[in-house]
Symmetry: C2
């Protein structure tokens, strides 16, 4: 799978709240389809469909035993998603920086006004 | 927007390679729809559709001037996505740890064999 395909499938898989909840459940241990379906008011076929999406994206693997095929979390594709997002880190960090600068400017503006009103500034 | 909605829309928006490429382009500066469309062999309406998805997810904002509505990257929803993914960090780090343990076990197995074969171990 190319990196582009991995990102396409991973982000698409993570876009659904049920699939994210399934991954959350699997983070505390492997589980069968029945166990995964229990907390959701969903039919087994509906859960199975979600599991297929997760399996295709490489976010879970399933055991091979016919009756009890436990699902297991595979976090590796999440790392690729995170590495991609990490390139944009400076943009959200910059927004905070800009907010800081703005707040400092507001405070700087406020100080001379206080000076005017009270005739002297508190240091 | 709830955190669940933010994650749904952000991951869905990021699941498309054209949309990721548009965000990449915007990371080097604001751009108009025409400028964004240029590198893609896509019609303006197709690009506009992608921009609408990005705008709805809060990943871009658009200027209000009717003729030239520059798009601007807003990375904030990406931070939410990254924070969500970060909960799974230990799982991909653990896989590496397990690989480390496995390699150490292999090496540990190898050493006594060498000892046997050569009669003495190198320290």
């Amino acid at each position: 799978m190319t990196q582009t395909e991995t990102l396409n499938l991973t982000f698409a898989a993570l876009a659904d709240p049920t699939r994210r909840a399934i991954l959350g459940r699997l983070s505390s241990g492997n589980a069968s389809v029945n166990e995964l379906a229990a907390p959701f008011k969903m039919s087994l076929p509906a859960i199975s469909k979600h599991l297929k999406v997760l399996e295709r994206s490489g976010l879970i693997t399933r055991g091979r035993r016919a009756q009890w095929r436990p699902c297991r979390l595979k976090a590796r594709p999440m790392k690729e998603a995170m590495d991609w997002l990490d390139h944009y880190r400076r943009f959200w960090e910059e927004s905070f920086d800009r907010l800081d600068v703005y707040l400092q400017q507001l405070q700087a503006k406020e100080k001379p006004q206080k000076k005017k009103r009270h005739g002297k500034s508190k240091k």
